[in-house]
């Protein structure tokens, strides 16, 4: 286990679960394990902590999920060009600590690291989804509210998912991560149904803002290894941060990526600019007052988020998309951007979420 925990709390009724047994067998004996009646109270911010959100990352709560596991991506409802991604919520929060992370606002009221003991129930939901639209391809990921692999060495969930999706003709799993913890994946055969994707940032952003993550080069190296193990791989250049001379650094990043991985073996690349609601920006600045990445030339955009002012943001997208397309990456899309921006970059209206989602699910099958 690469990340530190102070406590593991296990909700009553979950102690005999496969997840709880695995975690207890794999964590160091120094970590306190306690059993609690109802986990919901344990999710609340620790009032005596100077940094309740950060403290929540060190307290794992193994509990039963009481609501559905599968949902539309939160970005899908906001009038953006959308990739049709479906979110599978198997955990909440992340042991890494990126200064710009939206979870600082999104789960501020329940920051403890939740993992759901009844995660296998999601397989029933997936079965129903697959049966309802057998001719449509779906891409479903676990990396929205948590990193897909960060604690996999103790939870072992990713391997179970890969095995399940390997049997599904129209479902594709996306595991999204900033780690290089891939040992569990190397032990299973994905049969082409799993994409592992990495958020990639420049070295400057990584060093300034992505605390406790693997370096960009280690992420690329992990991708190379999984490509050799028959996984499909993808990358998210998101958030793109427009600091001074960022263009040069993104060029270097893309050079390093293509030096390790042929462009035509990459299933897709997404591009997304740094975006922060005023509340998120305030919280991030409070938690990371010396982070220069949080003080770029960001202005309040029409969607109520701080974003790099439009001409600079779009020129960066265009530059990156041109480089990716020239190198031979076949599928590039924008995340949480207006349809008009999509049209500027790709010269065509944004496809519907269903069409793009199915295309990304099938990319490089």
């Amino acid at each position: 286990m690469k990340f530190e925990l102070d406590t593991v709390l296990i909700e009553d009724g979950c102690g005999d679960s496969r997840l709880a047994r695995r975690v207890q067998a794999r964590i160091p004996s120094s970590i306190v394990v306690r059993h609690i009646d109802d986990a919901r109270a344990a999710l609340r911010p620790m009032a005596d902590s100077a940094d309740p959100f950060g403290a929540g990352k060190r307290r794992m709560v193994i509990m039963r999920r009481r609501s559905p596991f599968i949902m539309a991506c939160p970005a899908a409802a906001s009038g953006f060009a959308c990739c049709g991604y479906l979110v599978m919520a198997l955990a909440s929060n992340c042991p890494m600590d990126c200064s710009y992370c939206f979870l600082q606002e999104y789960i501020a009221d329940n920051p403890s690291f939740q993992v759901y003991a009844n995660y296998a129930d999601c397989f029933d939901e997936l079965d129903r989804l697959a049966r309802q639209a057998p001719n449509r391809g779906f891409r479903i990921g676990t990396g929205e509210f948590a990193d897909s692999l960060a604690f996999d060495s103790i939870t072992g969930i990713a391997g179970d998912l890969v095995k399940f999706f390997a049997r599904q003709p129209n479902l594709t799993l996306e595991l999204k991560t900033k780690t290089d913890d891939i040992d569990g994946l190397l032990a299973v055969d994905p049969r082409g149904r799993t994409i592992v994707s990495w958020t990639l940032s420049t070295d400057t952003v990584y060093r300034t803002s992505e605390h406790r993550t693997a370096s960009p080069m280690r992420r690329i190296e992990a991708a190379r290894q999984l490509l050799d193990a028959d996984y499909r791989i993808a990358f998210h250049l998101d958030p793109i941060i427009a600091y001074l001379n960022a263009e040069r650094d993104y060029d270097d990043l893309i050079d390093a990526l293509f030096a390790a991985i042929p462009a035509d073996r990459i299933a897709f690349v997404s591009l997304g600019g740094l975006r922060m609601t005023p509340t998120l920006r305030r919280r991030a600045r409070e938690r990371f007052p010396n982070d220069t990445m949080l003080t770029g030339e960001d202005v309040l955009a029409s969607d109520g988020r701080y974003r790099t002012f439009m001409p600079l943001r779009v020129s960066l997208y265009r530059r990156l998309n041109d480089r990716l397309a020239r190198a031979g990456v076949k599928s590039v899309y924008l995340c949480m951007e207006q349809p008009s921006v999509h049209e500027k970059i790709f010269g065509a209206p944004a496809p519907t979420p269903g069409v793009l989602g199915a295309s990304l699910a099938g990319a490089h099958e």
């Binding site: 263009e247 007052p289 010396n290 220069t292 003080t295 030339e297 202005v299 309040l300 955009a301 029409s302 974003r307 002012f309 439009m310 001409p311 600079l312 943001r313 779009v314 020129s315 960066l316 997208y317 265009r318 530059r319 008009s340 921006v341 500027k344």
Partner: protein, 186 residues
Amino acid sequence: MNESPIDQPSAVMAAIRAWAAERRLPYGNLERWLRFDAAGRAALLDLARELKMRTGQMMTVIDLLDEISLRGNIDAASILAADDVRDALAAGGSAPARAARLIRMLRDIRFPRLAQLREDLEAAITALALPLQVVVRLPADLASDELVVEIHARNPAEMARAATAIAGAQDGLGRIIGRLGGDDEV
């Protein structure tokens, strides 16, 4: 353990606290003001008095100084002593006008590429030499790609003159819209 600068008593600190209490400056802003370098916090107090700054203006100035300081690794005193800032303050006018000019100058320093591009685009609009009936507005903070072109006409002749002028300026307006949409590297 060293005492934090904001806990140290001094006449300037006391005066800053008094100003903040009188103007109901939020605690977070006061805290950051007190964390500026000694010369910077004193210079800002002098400006607050001289320009009769309102609470909202002071909050904006503190935010801007704080972020310029972080971006440029420069202290507040040096920012306020820069030639551009001193010139903006020395240019005369009422205290509120000078306060507004100070904020505009600090914003230009805080957002250098945005300020430069806006200046270029404003110059391009001026160069179109459109009649007074046609007003071209850039989006606030260049936050969107939408250029607003307004026609102000009181009679058919003015309307026709404006429409003709816009038609004649189509290429120039198109280039401006293109630049708003990131056609050029910024």
